[in-house]
Each structure stands twice: as structure tokens, then as C-alpha cells.
């Protein structure tokens, strides 16, 4: 899932300062699951914004709404409030939601209430940890299912560096060395041959080096886009 954290309150207050009528818009997708951008968060944030405004001798109206997913147009029909009726919409979806809403409501001011951080799993109550960087070239088959891109602080592909220390990474003594974990997993499976292999250089075009990435399923395209 995509993890996003709410931006610091001061930053949000600065962002909405020019506006009087604000809609805080939650997303029912990933950010609801990681308990940061769901309907309850939107309700609470709207209240906090009104409180902060009143403390600053300002008056704002702040409503809230929530749709199933902000990254899919079909769910926009579920909006109970119209974004175009507001001075600004503070979206607490991930960046994909904010960006897509901005594109679909070009006359509305859609602002990001969140910092989108990483692709994660919920590893314990209240803890989400990064498992994928979306690099476009999955390595998990030869690393025992442990991602060298996400779990190594340097995203190395040929094995551990000299910064591994008692199983931890030089960057943070509380962080596991991803490559040591890979080594141990492969050793247990008697597959250290995978560790020994020379890995081809990464192709960063698959990552973020070639502009906007798209997934196109030709069979699923119903009609040619008009503007192409």
C-alpha cells in the first residue's frame, strides 16, 4: 500500500491562509488503511483548521468529505460536496490522488495535506515499513524475497557494503542491513549462488529516469484517446 503522512500543521495553515472556504477531502484507499488520510482524519483536520483560524482571529469554514479513491474518476460521483464550490480543497490522499483531482478539477485549487512517503506493509500495530521502491525491475526472485532497492539504504545490487555492523546499517543502528538479511535468507535456502552472481547495471529508465511512467494494457483500451 501507499503510505502518506500528514504535513506539519504549520505548513498546512500557511497553505490555506489565502482561503476562507475550505474542503478537507479524505480518500478511502491506502491512506485510510494507514490511518492518516481517511474520513475521520478529515473531520479532525477540518476542526483543527477552524480552531487554528479562530485563535488567529480569522474565520474560515472547513467542511470535510470522503470518496472511495481519489485516483479513480468513477468515484468522483460519490462526492457529496462539489470541489468547485470551495476556495480550496485540502486533499489528504496520496500524491496520485491530489494530482489526479487537480487534473480533473482544473478550476479548483487542490492542495496537498499529506507527504506521500513509500510503498509499505503494516508490520505491527501503528507501524508501516517500506517494502518496495517501485523501481520498475523487481529483484525479489534472486534475493530471497528481500528487496535490495528498498531494504538497502544505498540500494546496492551486488551485495553488502562495508557499512554493515552487527547486522545493522551504518545509517541507523536500529535499521537492519538489508543485504545481510538477503545473505542469511539465501544461505538458509542453499541459494548463495544468487548472491555470487554479477548483477547487470540497473536501467534507470525503468525507475524515474525517463519521465512519466505509464502502464498501458492495449487489450483494455476501448477507444483511441481523442487528443493523441
Amino acid at each position: 500500500m501507499i503510505v502518506a503522512e500528514r504535513k506539519p500543521m504549520d505548513e498546512i495553515i500557511d497553505m490555506i491562509a489565502p482561503y476562507e472556504k475550505v474542503l478537507v477531502l479524505a480518500c478511502g484507499g491506502c491512506v485510510t488503511v494507514c490511518l492518516t488520510g481517511g474520513e475521520k482524519n478529515a473531520e479532525m483536520l477540518a476542526t483543527q483548521l477552524k480552531l487554528a483560524a479562530s485563535q488567529a482571529d480569522k474565520t474560515i469554514s472547513a467542511d470535510f468529505d470522503c470518496i472511495t479513491r481519489q485516483c479513480e474518476k468513477e468515484f468522483f460521483d460519490n462526492l457529496t460536496k462539489n470541489p468547485d464550490d470551495y476556495d480550496a480543497v485540502l486533499s489528504i490522499a496520496c500524491g496520485a490522488g491530489v494530482g489526479y483531482m487537480s487534473e480533473q478539477y482544473p478550476d479548483a485549487v487542490i492542495l496537498p495535506g499529506m507527504n506521500t512517503t513509500f510503498l509499505a506493509s503494516n508490520v505491527a500495530n501503528g507501524i508501516w515499513e517500506e517494502y518496495c521502491r517501485g523501481c520498475g525491475d523487481c529483484a525479489l526472485a534472486w534475493t530471497g524475497g528481500i528487496c535490495p532497492i528498498a531494504k538497502c539504504s544505498k540500494s546496492l545490487i551486488n551485495g553488502t557494503c562495508g557499512g554493515t555492523n552487527d547486522g545493522k546499517c551504518e545509517v541507523d543502528q536500529d535499521m537492519e542491513c538489508g543485504w545481510l538479511a538477503i545473505y542469511e535468507r539465501l544461505e538458509k535456502r542453499d541459494r548463495l549462488d544468487e548472491y555470487r552472481k554479477m548483477r547487470p547495471l540497473r536501467d534507470h529508465r525503468k525507475d524515474r529516469g525517463k519521465g512519466v511512467r505509464r502502464l498501458v494494457l492495449k487489450d483494455m483500451i476501448e477507444e483511441e484517446p481523442v487528443n493523441e
Binding site: 544505498k154 555492523n165 545509517v171 554479477m198
Partner: protein
């Protein structure tokens, strides 16, 4: 055995016990004192001098300029290259540039993470790693580069370099097996010599050397001068894969302040003489105490 391209390669091929030194370019433009010290204390005393590459991710003048200034003084440099700050275009370009300037020895390193240094917000690159940087050197030597021309054929260089290629290893890492496999990959990728991370445990180092016998690559044991007991304790806490025995910390702690440098030199000398029979050289990292190098060499019984 290939025709040596440097004095360092020649000495190692001849089976001499080789000593190398190390300098770090300054944070600023005032590089004169560092070069002066190298000329004063390292020239003639060591076979080659490493020039660090933005070590510990603390921004400073670059390795290549230090190498060039050493060459001007008749001192053979080892050009350290980390993969943290440059992508494959810049790394290959700098290899060509360094070769044009007369650099022949290159040491391939991963590089400490950006967050360890004084620009923690900087992006870490790691487009190549310490293995693929060695492969890149071999590719350049073959007259090509890592790219392709418009037709998908290998690019052709107008003049190819020839390096003596080195790498690093941490012999006393808590988990040494994955380090050894990585070293095997570095040697397969073209590494011709090894300079190690600091070693203070000769017995552990001897065991390590036995475990890499099959690689048949010359190894220069890394000796980092312990200036104070506090520094030794810091290394135990903060430097991965380095463990300073209590006995050495005690010796540094017990001696009078004015004797500390003498004791520090003695410790380096003892370490080298206890390990010189099972490695091919020593790499001295004096952290600015270049004037101690002749003393260390004498204390090791190498003079």
C-alpha cells in the same frame, strides 16, 4: 602477469612488502599544507599515497586534484573513487580524466552514506557499486564504455586507459562471509589489489587471509593510527567492522599525554610486524599525522 602500469603494481608483482599512505584533501582551497606534508614525510617512505574521495561524506576538495598535485611532486597516487556522488557518466568521465592526468592506481569504493556526513540532505547516487565500477574500468581499458551507439553497438574510445585497479574489504566484520563473497565478485570484476578497512586483531585477520587464499590477490592491511583512547573507543562504537581490543585502549589511556604519539606509533608498528607474514603490504591511515609514517615503518621493522 600483466605489464605493470604503476610502481605500486610493480612492487606487489615483485613480491615486496608494500606500504601505502593516505591523504585527505582539505575542506577549502588551501591544499598546500597537505601536499607539503606528503612531500616531506611520505615521499620515498611509501610506494603510493591514496587520496580520499569526499571521505565520510563530508564535502571537501576532490581526489583527482590531490592525485595530480602528488604526481607533480613525484609521488605516485591511488585515486579513490566512491560511487555515492556520481552516476556512470561522471564516473567513467573522471576515470578518463584521471588517466589523462597520469593517474594509474584507482581504488573502487561504495562510499559512506550521505546521511553520515555534513550534507545529509544530499541525494546518494550509487548508480554503479564497488563491483560495477571495477567492471567499468575494465570496459574502458578494452577501448569501450558502458554505453552503446545509435545502432546498439559498443562505443569506441579514442584512446583507452590502463589502470591498476583496487578495492576494499572489511576483514574483521562481525559477519565476514558476505564480505568475502563481495570481495570475490570484486576480484572477478577486475580488482588487482585490496586495501582493507582498519584491522587491530591480527589473529582474526590471519583467519580472514586464509579464507581468501583462493583469490590470489595482494592485500594491504589497513592500519588506522589510534591517537587517543577516546578515539579507539569511538571506533569501537561508530566504525562498522572495526574492533579495537581493550588492551590497546588501556595502553593509550595509561600513557602520559606527551608519550601518546610514541605509543601510537609503537602500536602501528607492532600490528604491522605481527601481520606482515600473511599479507602483502600495509596501508597506513594516519589521519593527518603524516610525520609519524617514517616512525611506523621503522617500528614495524621495515626500514
Amino acid at each position: 602477469m600483466s605489464e605493470p602500469v604503476s610502481k605500486l603494481q610493480k612492487a606487489l608483482q615483485a613480491g615486496e612488502f608494500v606500504v601505502t599512505g593516505e591523504i585527505g584533501p582539505p575542506k577549502g582551497t588551501n591544499i598546500g599544507p597537505v601536499i607539503h606534508e606528503a612531500k616531506e614525510y611520505l615521499k620515498g617512505a611509501v610506494t603510493a599515497v591514496n587520496v580520499t574521495d569526499i571521505q565520510t561524506a563530508v564535502m571537501r576538495a576532490g581526489s583527482m586534484v590531490g592525485c595530480k598535485l602528488l604526481l607533480d611532486e613525484g609521488i605516485e597516487p591511488v585515486f579513490q573513487m566512491v560511487c555515492r556522488d556520481r552516476n556512470r557518466l561522471a564516473l567513467q568521465s573522471d576515470l578518463l580524466s584521471a588517466y589523462i592526468l597520469g593517474v594509474r592506481n584507482v581504488l573502487s569504493l561504495t562510499g559512506d552514506h550521505t546521511t553520515m556526513g555534513d550534507h545529509p540532505e544530499a541525494m546518494g547516487v550509487y548508480d554503479l557499486d564497488s563491483v560495477s565500477l571495477l567492471e567499468a574500468m575494465c570496459t574502458l581499458e578494452s577501448g569501450s564504455d558502458l554505453g552503446k551507439d545509435m545502432k546498439g553497438n559498443p562505443n569506441e574510445l579514442d584512446g583507452a586507459p590502463k589502470f591498476f585497479k583496487g578495492c576494499c574489504v572489511t576483514p574483521c566484520a562481525e559477519e565476514v562471509a558476505p564480505q568475502i563473497i563481495k570481495l570475490e565478485k570484486k576480484v572477478a570484476a577486475g580488482a588487482q589489489f585490496v586495501q582493507t578497512q582498519a584491522v587491530y586483531e591480527p589473529a582474526r585477520f590471519e583467519k580472514f587471509m586464509k579464507s581468501i587464499e583462493h583469490l590470489k590477490v595482494p592485500v594491504l592491511v589497513g592500519i588506522v593510527m589510534l591517537k587517543t583512547a577516546g578515539m579507539a573507543k569511538y571506533m569501537n562504537r561508530g566504525v562498522p567492522g572495526v574492533s579495537v581490543p581493550d588492551e590497546l585502549i588501556q595502553r593509550l589511556g595509561d600513557c602520559a599525554k606527551e608519550d601518546r604519539q610514541k605509543v601510537s606509533i609503537e602500536i602501528c608498528g607492532e600490528l604491522i610486524s605481527s601481520m606482515k607474514d600473511f599479507c602483502q603490504g600495509a596501508h597506513l591511515m594516519t589521519l593527518g599525522w603524516d610525520h609519524c609514517v617514517p616512525g611506523i615503518i621503522a617500528a614495524a621493522g621495515l626500514a
